[in-house]
C-alpha cells in the first residue's frame, strides 16, 4: 500500500501466482471435505455394520451432521476474516 494513495489497487498477479492461489484453495476445500466425511462417519455410522444400506437413523444423522458442519465452517470462516481485517486495520497507521 502506498503512502499517499498513489499506485493503489491490487498488484497484478502473474498466471503462476494465480495457479498457486487456485491450488491452495483446492487444498483447503479438499481438506475440509475430508474432515467432514471423516467426522460425520465417525459420529453417525454404526460400527457393527449390520446392514449394507444406511438406515433412517444414520441417514438423518448424516444429514444433520453435514448441514451443521457446513454452517459452522462458514460462520467460523466469516469470523476469522473479520478478525483478520480488524487485525490488519489495527496494525496500520
Amino acid at each position: 500500500m502506498s503512502l499517499f494513495g498513489l499506485g493503489g489497487g491490487q498488484p497484478q498477479l502473474t498466471s503462476n501466482q494465480k495457479i498457486q492461489a487456485a491450488e491452495t484453495e483446492l487444498d483447503l476445500v479438499t481438506d475440509m471435505f475430508n474432515k467432514l466425511v471423516d467426522n460425520c462417519y465417525q459420529k453417525c455410522i454404526n460400527k457393527t455394520y449390520n446392514q449394507g444400506e444406511l438406515n433412517k437413523d444414520e441417514s438423518n444423522c448424516l444429514d444433520r451432521c453435514v448441514a451443521k458442519y457446513f454452517e459452522t465452517n462458514v460462520k467460523v470462516g466469516e469470523n476469522m476474516q473479520k478478525m483478520g481485517q480488524t487485525f490488519n486495520a489495527g496494525g496500520k497507521f
Binding site: K56, D57, S59, N60
Partner: protein, 450 residues
C-alpha cells in the same frame, strides 16, 4: 433430678456394646427438626419421583419408536418430515415452550428416524406470516405454470386427478437436451446424478404425508389463520385505507409504550417500495406489539385478509383442487402435499401465572409426569399415524382453549383485545379449507378431558 435423668435415658436407645465402641445414645431429633427434615425430604423425593417417572415414560416411548429408525432408507429418499411450530405462552419466554419440545417431543421424533423442521416464533404473527407467505409463493408458482402450459408436462403426475388438462393426455417422450456429461470425458463412466425424492411425495393418502405439531394455543391459532390467509387471501398485499385502524395506531403509539427507534428497520422502510408514511406507522405498531424489544430481524406483515371476509372470497383459480373433496394440491417442486393436508397435533402449554395460582402451580409441578405421558403418547401417535381423523370445524377450533387459553393472564388478554392481537381474537375458519384438514388423535371430546 433423677426423674429427668430417667426420662432422658428412656428417650434414646443405647447398648453397653455401643457405649464401649463410643457410639452415643441414638435418639430422635427434636420435634422441630423432625418437621423440617420431613418437609424437606417430602419435597425433594416428590420431585425426584416425578423426574424418575418422566424418564421412564420417555424411555418407554423412545423404545417403542426405536425399531422404526432401523429400517433401511435408500440414499435417494428423504424421510418423512414433521413441521413443528413453537410459540411461547403469553407473558413468557419462548424457552418455556422449547422445554416441552426438547424434553418430550423431540426425543420421540428423533429416535423414530423422522426429519423435523422447527419454526420458532418469539413474537406474534411470525407463524401466520411464514405459513401464509409459503402458500402464496406456491400459488404464484402454480399461476406461472398455468400461463406457460409447457411446464405442466413435467408435473403431469401431479395433476392426474384433474382430467380437464389437455396437455396431460398427449404423452410425448420429452426430448432430452444433450449434455456433455452423457458422452464426454470423466463423466462418461460415472453414475448419473441421483434425484432425491421425498418419502412424503410417494404416499397415496395425503394425510399420511408429513405432519404438523403446534406447541401452544397461540401457535395453533396462528397456523390455522395462516393457512386461510395463504389460500384465500390475495397474492399481493392489499392497500389499507381504513381510517379507523389508523386512529387506533395513533392512540396506541401515544399510550406511553416506548417505540424503540431502530435505524436498520427504518432504512429498510426507506429502501422498500412502500414508502407511504401510513404503512410505516403500521409497521411500527406491529413492532411495538411484540413483547420483546430486541431488533426485529423479520418484519411482521399484517394479514392480507381479515377472518370475517373468508365467506365472501372465491377459491382462487389456481387452487381448483380445493373445490373437490378429493383434490390434492402438491408442491410443484417436491410433489409433497401442502401443509393443509398434513394432520395437526396441538400441544397445550400448561402455564399459570399470578400469585393466587401458586398452589395450583405447585400441584402441577409435582404432577408433570401426567403431562409428559400425554404429550409423549400424542407424539407417538404422530409417528405411528394410526389415528387420523378429519378436522371437525367448531370442536377442533377450540383445541387447547380449556387446557391453555383459560389460564392466560387476564390483564394480558385485555391488553391483547385492545391492540387487536391475533391470539386473543376468536379463531375463525372456512368450511372449504377445513374440509381438507385432519387431526391426529382421537375425538376432541375425549381429548379435552383432564
Amino acid at each position: 433430678m433423677r426423674i429427668t435423668m430417667a426420662a432422658a435415658a428412656k428417650k434414646g436407645f443405647s447398648n453397653p456394646a455401643f457405649k464401649a465402641l463410643g457410639i452415643p445414645t441414638i435418639k430422635l431429633p427434636s420435634r422441630n427438626w423432625i418437621i423440617f427434615w420431613s418437609v424437606l425430604s417430602m419435597g425433594l423425593s416428590g420431585l425426584a419421583y416425578d423426574k424418575y417417572e418422566q424418564k421412564q415414560i420417555l424411555k418407554k416411548y423412545t423404545g417403542l419408536v426405536k425399531p422404526l429408525a432401523q429400517e433401511a432408507l435408500p440414499v435417494d429418499k428423504k424421510p418423512r418430515k414433521i413441521t413443528v411450530f413453537i410459540a411461547p405462552p403469553p407473558n413468557d419466554y419462548l424457552e418455556t415452550s422449547l422445554k416441552i419440545w426438547r424434553r418430550f417431543i423431540k426425543p420421540v421424533l428423533y429416535y423414530s428416524g423422522l426429519d423435523y423442521e422447527v419454526v420458532e416464533a418469539d413474537r406474534q404473527g411470525i407463524i401466520r406470516m411464514k405459513v401464509a407467505s409459503q402458500l402464496r409463493q406456491l400459488r404464484l408458482q402454480m399461476r406461472g405454470e398455468e400461463r406457460h402450459p409447457d411446464s405442466v408436462k413435467d408435473n403431469s403426475k401431479t395433476n392426474t386427478s384433474e382430467p380437464a388438462q389437455p396437455n396431460v393426455e398427449i404423452e410425448e417422450t420429452p426430448v432430452k437436451p444433450i449434455a456433455k456429461s452423457d458422452f464426454l470425458g470423466v463423466f462418461y463412466n460415472r453414475p448419473k446424478e441421483i434425484k432425491v425424492v421425498d418419502e412424503d411425495s410417494l404416499v397415496e393418502d395425503p394425510r399420511l404425508a408429513g405432519g404438523v405439531i403446534c406447541i401452544g394455543r397461540g401457535a395453533y391459532k396462528e397456523y390455522i389463520t395462516g393457512l386461510h390467509e395463504g389460500l384465500l387471501g390475495p397474492l399481493q398485499e392489499p392497500e389499507r385505507v381504513e381510517a379507523i385502524t389508523d386512529k387506533d395506531t395513533a392512540s396506541l403509539s401515544s399510550d406511553g409504550n416506548s417505540i424503540k427507534d431502530d435505524p436498520v428497520a427504518e432504512q429498510q422502510n426507506v429502501d422498500s417500495t412502500v414508502t407511504v408514511v401510513k404503512e410505516d406507522k403500521k409497521k411500527e405498531e406491529e413492532e411495538k406489539q411484540t413483547s420483546e424489544e430486541e431488533t426485529p430481524e423479520i418484519k411482521i406483515v399484517k394479514p392480507y385478509i381479515d377472518p370475517s371476509e373468508y365467506p365472501n372470497v372465491e377459491i382462487p383459480s389456481e387452487l381448483y383442487q380445493l373445490a373437490s373433496p378429493d383434490g390434492v394440491i402438491r408442491d410443484p417442486k417436491t410433489n409433497v402435499p401442502i401443509l393443509l393436508y398434513q394432520p395437526i397435533l396441538m400441544v397445550a402449554i400448561p402455564s399459570l401465572s399470578g400469585f393466587s395460582n401458586i398452589p395450583r402451580r405447585i400441584y402441577r409441578f409435582y404432577q408433570k409426569r401426567h403431562f409428559a405421558e400425554k404429550v409423549c403418547s400424542e407424539t407417538y401417535d404422530v409417528v405411528k399415524q394410526e389415528h387420523i381423523r378429519p378436522f371437525e370445524a367448531p370442536a377442533d377450533l377450540s383445541q387447547g382453549e380449556f387446557d391453555e387459553e383459560v389460564d392466560w393472564p387476564k390483564s394480558w388478554v385485555k391488553q391483547g383485545l385492545v391492540r387487536k392481537s391475533e391470539w386473543t381474537r376468536e379463531l375463525k375458519c372456512d368450511s372449504r379449507i377445513v374440509e381438507h384438514m385432519s387431526m391426529y388423535g382421537s375425538k376432541p371430546e375425549d381429548r379435552t378431558e383432564p
